[in-house]
Every structure is written in C-alpha cells, then in structure tokens.
C-alpha cells in the first residue's frame, strides 16, 4: 500500500447523550481521493472536526503524514465545512486575504495567489464587492478558493457540491481532480454517490458511529458483486428459462419481440459464467453479455440495511 497521508486509529468521541464515534479507524493513502460516506448523523462531521482539531477525540490517535496530529498541522489542512459561509458585510478580496492569513500565509504571497485563482475562476471583478452582493454559487466559489489557497497537503471537503449548479459542479470537480494530479490528498465527505463513483479512489462507510466497510472502490465493488450477469439474446425465452435449471436464478426479463434482455444470478458458488453460458447456449443466440456491477449507491444502501437488520 502506498504512503498514508492520514491515519486515524480507534477514534472514540462521546457527547453528553450519545457516542458520536465508536472505535473508528480510517487510512487515507497519499495523493488519492478518499470518500467518507454515511447517512446523516452517522458521525462523518464529528470525525472531520477531530481531524481539523476543532474538537478532540476522547480516545484514539490521528497521524498526519506520519506525525501525531498537532497545531502545526493547521496549515497543512484545508477544510470546506458543510455549514459554510462568509462575512456578509466584508469585501471579497479583503476577506479572502484575512482567511489566508489565519491559515498562516504571508499577506503579499496570499494576494498574488488569490489573484491567480480569481482569474482562473473568472471572478477578478468581485474583489471589491461585498459578499451579500453575490449569489450563493458565487460565494461557494470564493469559499472553495479560500480552502485550497494555502496549498494544503490534505484537503477535506464536506459536501462540496451542494449548492452548486451543474456547470459549477463540473468546475469544482475538475479543480479537485487537478489538485489530485498536483499531489494533494483529498477527503470527500458526501452522500452524493454519483460523484463518489466518478472521482473517489477509496472510501470508508460510516453508519451509526461505526465504520461499516472501507477499501478501494474497486475492491469494495468486487466484494459486493453477486455473480449476476446481464444477457442480451435472440431466441426462445421458454427454452432459455428451462435451461437455467436449479443453479441459476432469473431475476429480471425484458422482451422485445424475439429479443430478450435477462438478468441472471448464479446461485451455486462452484459455478461461473461459462457454466451459465454452456447450459443456455444451445437454446439461444447471444448478442451481448456483461457483469452487473453494483453501484456505490446500491452498496451504500445494502451495507446499511444489512447492518441495521443485524442490530
């Protein structure tokens, strides 16, 4: 496994009336995008706040780039919270400079960098506007810039796409990928599964204060594969169904004249796609075959429902 930018070990966090995190460990590989997933109230924000040193864990340890987390790491992390905003009465440029300086940046350096970002986002003319003159999407762009301006090693984005229109969502998405190319490690907390499949390399799923599963997106998908195939063929559906026998199950079928599209699940562990094909080949003419790979959304729902059913 590659080098870890962040490692959280056995994190426990209690609030007065409930336990927000129960022995949660995550490992974020360097220069990748890590999806932190989970339903509302699962404990994602609690974990993120601990990584940002807004609160401390009751027990457990966090290592950033191999070092035990401490105040000097503030400048190495960029954080875009889910609940985010700006000073409404302050001018955009002034405010961005202030936030950059709070991250420890030198004022003149920050100004040059800000100008660059403002130009790339085509918002240079906003510099002297007050935030309450801007639309929500405009303000989000500024928030994104102030989060990444100090070039943190680790970027934590909590629901970064909420509030953006599709065009700006794509802009931010491509910026995230660009930052990854440049070597930034990114934690993306979201329940927007589409974006997870698109850009995440690995994920951790948290539910009810506990981690349910983690790993690379590919491994997890393999883990959740159910030996189900989508078969597109021409011929007799009755012959096909009869040939399935007891080792296979027909899940869905869609018929258009002589053309059929079926989803078949292999029930017997010892059997594989070739067995399915050889038993049905005499009956029909295949047009296409593909494995049904579960979407992250399905995995998310399935994992949580399975867990909830257990408890």
């Amino acid at each position: 496994m590659s080098k870890l930018i962040l490692e959280a070990k056995h994190i426990v966090k209690n609030y007065a009336s409930h336990r927000a995190l129960n022995d949660v460990s995550i490992a974020v590989p360097e220069k990748t995008i890590f999806g932190l997933l989970g339903p509302n109230g699962a404990g994602k924000t609690s974990l993120i706040r601990i990584i940002n040193q807004i609160t401390g864990p009751d027990s457990g340890e966090i290592f950033l780039d191999g070092e035990l987390l401490n105040r000097s790491h503030i400048k190495d992390i960029g954080y875009l919270p889910e609940e985010r905003g700006l000073y409404k009465k302050m001018k955009v440029g002034e405010q961005s400079l202030y936030l950059a300086q709070l991250k420890g940046m030198d004022k003149s350096v920050a100004k040059v960098k800000l100008m660059e970002w403002f130009e790339r986002f085509e918002i240079s003319e906003w510099w002297n506007k007050k935030v309450d003159e801007l639309s929500k999407g405009m303000a989000q762009k500024i928030q994104f810039i102030t989060t990444v301006l100090h070039e943190p090693k680790l970027l934590i984005l909590d629901e970064p796409f909420s509030g953006f229109d599709p065009i700006n969502t794509n802009l931010v998405k491509s910026e995230i990928l660009r930052l990854k190319e440049k070597g930034t490690s990114i934690i993306l907390s979201t329940h927007n599964m589409g974006s997870v499949e698109e850009i995440c390399d690995s994920i951790a799923l948290i539910n009810k204060s506990e981690k349910l599963l983690d790993g690379t997106v590919k491994d997890i998908k393999d883990q959740f594969k159910t030996q189900t195939y989508e078969l597109d063929f021409t011929g007799s559906i009755i012959g096909f169904t009869n040939a399935l026998w007891t080792n296979f199950e027909l899940l869905e079928k869609e018929t258009d004249g002589d053309n059929h599209k079926c989803r078949v699940k292999i029930l017997n562990d010892k059997m594989e796609l070739n067995d399915l094909l050889s038993s049905t080949l005499p009956e029909v003419k295949f047009n296409s075959i593909s494995e049904v790979i579960p979407s992250m959304n399905d995995i998310f729902i399935q994992a949580i429902e399975t867990k909830n059913a257990q408890s």
Binding site: I77, Y98, L102
Partner: protein, 452 residues
C-alpha cells in the same frame, strides 16, 4: 503575525471604519449635552404662565394703599426671577364659580385662622408644577414667619434676618483632617454619572460582542475560522478588538467633551463674572478662597456646587479607576454576553440569557444611590468588592474619596480573578455553542457544555 492579533485587527478595523462608528462618536457628546440641557431647561421652567389671585382677607400680607391692595414685601412677590407668575392681591374673597370664570389660573386664600391652622387652600384650574407650588409656599412661609416674629416676639423683619443662621454640617475624616470636605455627596453624584457611562458602555460594547459572535454563527463562517484558530483565540480576539473600539471611542469622547466644555465655559464666562474661574483652573489653583470666585460660584447655584465638587476630586485616581473598571466590567460582562450569543441561533433568542446577565448591572446602578447616602456602610463595602457590581459601586466610592485602599485593591483583584474565570467559562460554552444549530438551549444544556 500572531493569529489573535489578526483577529483583533479585523474586529477593530471593521468597526472603526464604519460610518456608524463616526456618527455615534461625534453625535453622542452633542446629544448628551443637548439632552441634559433640555432636561434641565424643561425641569426648571414651567412653560405655562400663571396668574395668581391672592385673597388676603386677613390683611397680614398686604396693605390697602389708595384703594390698591399691595403686598407688604413687594420684593418677594414681584418674582423678578420668573416672570411667568403674576400675583394679584385682593382683600375680598370670590366665589369658586367667579374664579372659574376669571382669567386667574390659581387662587390662594388667607384668613385670620391661617396663622393658627397653618393651612392655605389653593384652588387651581390645571394643576401647576411642583416648582410653582413650592415657590408660592416658600413666599407664604417667609411672610408668615416674619409676621409671627414681629407680632408675637416683637422682632422686626430686618432684625430677624440678622438673627437667622444657616448651619452646614461639614463631614471630616478623622484620619485625614487637613482636607475640608463639604462636597462628599456631590462628588458621589459625579461618580454616579461616571458609573452610568460605564453601565451604558458595558451594555453597548457587550452587545456588540454578542452580535459579532452571532454574525459569525449565523453566516456559518465560524467553522472555517475555528479550523484555522482555536475558538478561544477567536473569542478573545473579538472581545479585545471590540474593547479597543470602546477605548478609542472614550478617548475621542473625552477629547470632544474637552472641546465642548471649553467652548461652554467660554460662553458662560463671557456672560457672567466667572471668567476668573477659568483663569484659576488654568493656573492649577483649583480650590480658591477668593471671595469673588465663591460669589461667582454661589451665583451659579447648584451647577457651581458641582464644579467646586469636581475640583475637589482626585481625577488621576478616578480616571485610572474609570478605565480599569470599564475594562474589567466589560471583559466580565462581554465574555458572558459572547457566551450567550454563541448559545442561540438568532438575536431574538438571546434575551433569555441576557436578562439574568444584566440584572446585577441594573441592581448596581440602583444600589449606587444608597452608596452615595452611606458610602462606608457594609452594603457599600460588600458590593464594591463583589465583581458583578464593583465596576459601578467602587467607582462611585472612589469618586467620593470615601474608601479604604485595601478595599480598592481587593475589589480590583477580585474583578481580575473573576473575569479570568468568566472568560474561561465563556470560552467553554462558546466552543460548543458556535457549532450548535437549530437547538433550543436550556440552562441545563449549558451546564453540560461546561463539562465537555
């Protein structure tokens, strides 16, 4: 640059560069003076004119000279000072209906029995102000006093004046006999005025802090901020920044007041013969035995009393205490109000926490009147040390010069210790409160936050 100082700088600059700051800074002193002058002017002068009919059927107060009824003491009833009262004497009583139909606004009736039962009925159409009534009563009192001296004791009014004495009790501290001190209470009232300023500014700047906290919470910028700085740095930066705004405002106010009062004294001295007063002040010779100045001050009545009292104050000490107790009180109450602001989602919800916070402050203002009456009582001592009231009470006592040094020292130490404690406490509530949205917070909840 240190992060806390960055925050202080932002808090300070965003406020002092606002137009409203300049407007408040320059308008308040003028408004203050205008309101005071207005209140005094309103209180002193009764704008309604009074036409008083004095029915003197006894003939004690007036004589019939060639068919005209004229008061014996014409000077007294002439009312040179306030021409809004006109007295008309008669010996013939009139009916109530006749009074109502007449142009007279008031009617007082004196008869042979007045000397004995000592009551003078006064009929009115509209109730006159107490100032008018008092004036009439004083005139009657003086007239009858002279009459009884002359009638029963055979003493002429002129001789009676000579015999009259007016004793002033001069309170003196046995441990400090050199200081003659006829202005103790008056100084108390000056101290009271100073503590009112402290009271108002604690409210003003305390609520500025609270609104600042709420602004960051409501605009949702706070989580971004505390991922860069500690919540405590943010809280302290805000409190100190706003406090500096307060100090700046004070310094500007003091400057403006100095200018206004210099102009004011200029106007007064050009009109009266107190020009020497200004000269005396310039020479630093503040307590003058000069008879002409005494006279000048006496002619100014109560205002003169206040000026004399002001000159007898230890202004260096008072000014230092003023700054200290403003800062101490502001830090104490400001941090509590910041905590209140962090615990709610909207300004309207803050009332439930603000009310209990401000009760001690309001109580202190009410208590300070008792302290002026009895500055060395146990109550005065206790509340000038109790940190929630000391910024008000101790300042009054220091202004009066009626305190022990150990009391002042203890009061300051307790205040410092308490605000350190309160700031720490507020920091804990703040830390949790700023990230808490959409939750109605109870006192029990706050108690839990303290233990996180």
């Amino acid at each position: 640059m240190n992060k806390t100082s960055l925050i202080i700088k932002r808090e300070y600059l965003t406020r002092v560069t606002k137009k409203s700051f300049l407007i408040v800074t320059f308008l308040v002193p003028f408004l203050f003076v205008a309101v005071f002058a207005g209140v005094i002017a309103l209180g002193v002068s009764d704008s309604t004119n009074h036409n008083v009919l004095v029915v003197d059927s006894s003939g004690i107060l007036s004589n019939n000279i060639n068919g005209k009824i004229i008061p014996i003491n014409t000077e007294r009833w002439k009312n040179a000072k306030d021409s809004s009262i006109v007295y008309n004497f008669t010996h013939e009583e009139i009916e109530v209906q006749a009074f109502l139909d007449s142009d007279y606004t008031l009617k007082i009736s004196i008869d042979d029995q007045t000397v004995n039962d000592e009551n003078v009925p006064m009929l009115y159409k509209d109730l006159p102000s107490s100032i008018i009534s008092t004036q009439i009563e004083n005139n009657l009192q003086d007239d009858f006093q002279e009459y009884t001296w002359e009638t029963f004791l055979n003493v002429k009014p002129e001789d009676y004046k000579k015999a009259e004495v007016n004793i002033d009790l001069v309170e003196q501290d046995a441990e400090n006999l050199d200081v003659e001190d006829p202005h103790l209470r008056t100084r108390g009232w000056i101290g009271y005025a100073l503590s009112l300023i402290i009271y108002m500014t604690i409210f003003l700047f305390g609520s500025l802090v609270m609104r600042g906290v709420l602004e960051e919470k409501m605009s949702r910028i706070v989580e971004v901020l505390i991922s860069s700085v500690k919540p405590f740095q943010l809280l302290m930066g805000k409190i100190i920044g706003v406090g500096l705004v307060g100090l700046t405002q004070f310094i500007l106010w003091i400057g403006l007041f100095a200018v206004i009062s210099a102009v004011g004294i200029g106007i007064i001295s050009s009109q009266t013969d107190v020009s020497e007063l200004a000269a005396q002040v310039e020479n630093g010779n503040v307590i003058s035995q000069d008879a002409s100045m005494e006279q000048a001050l006496a002619s100014m009545g109560q205002a003169g009393d206040y000026i004399e009292a002001a000159f007898s104050m230890n202004w260096t000490l008072v000014a230092l205490c003023f700054i200290f107790y403003f800062l101490g009180g502001y830090l104490l109450y400001g941090s509590l109000m910041a905590a209140a602001g962090s615990a709610v989602d909207a300004e309207a919800d803050s009332q439930q926490f603000l009310v209990p916070i401000t009760i001690p402050l309001i109580a202190a203002i009410m208590l300070s009147r008792l302290v002026i009456v009895n500055p060395e009582s146990t109550i005065a001592t206790v509340f000038s040390i109790f940190p929630l009231t000391s910024p008000i009470i101790m300042l009054v006592r220091v202004s009066m010069g009626s305190f022990e040094w150990w009391e002042l020292a203890l009061s300051m130490i307790v205040l410092i210790a308490t605000f350190i404690g309160t700031v720490a406490l507020a920091g804990k509530i703040y830390r949790t409160g700023i990230l808490m949205y959409g939750k109605k917070v109870s006192y029990r909840e706050l108690w839990k936050w303290l233990k996180y």
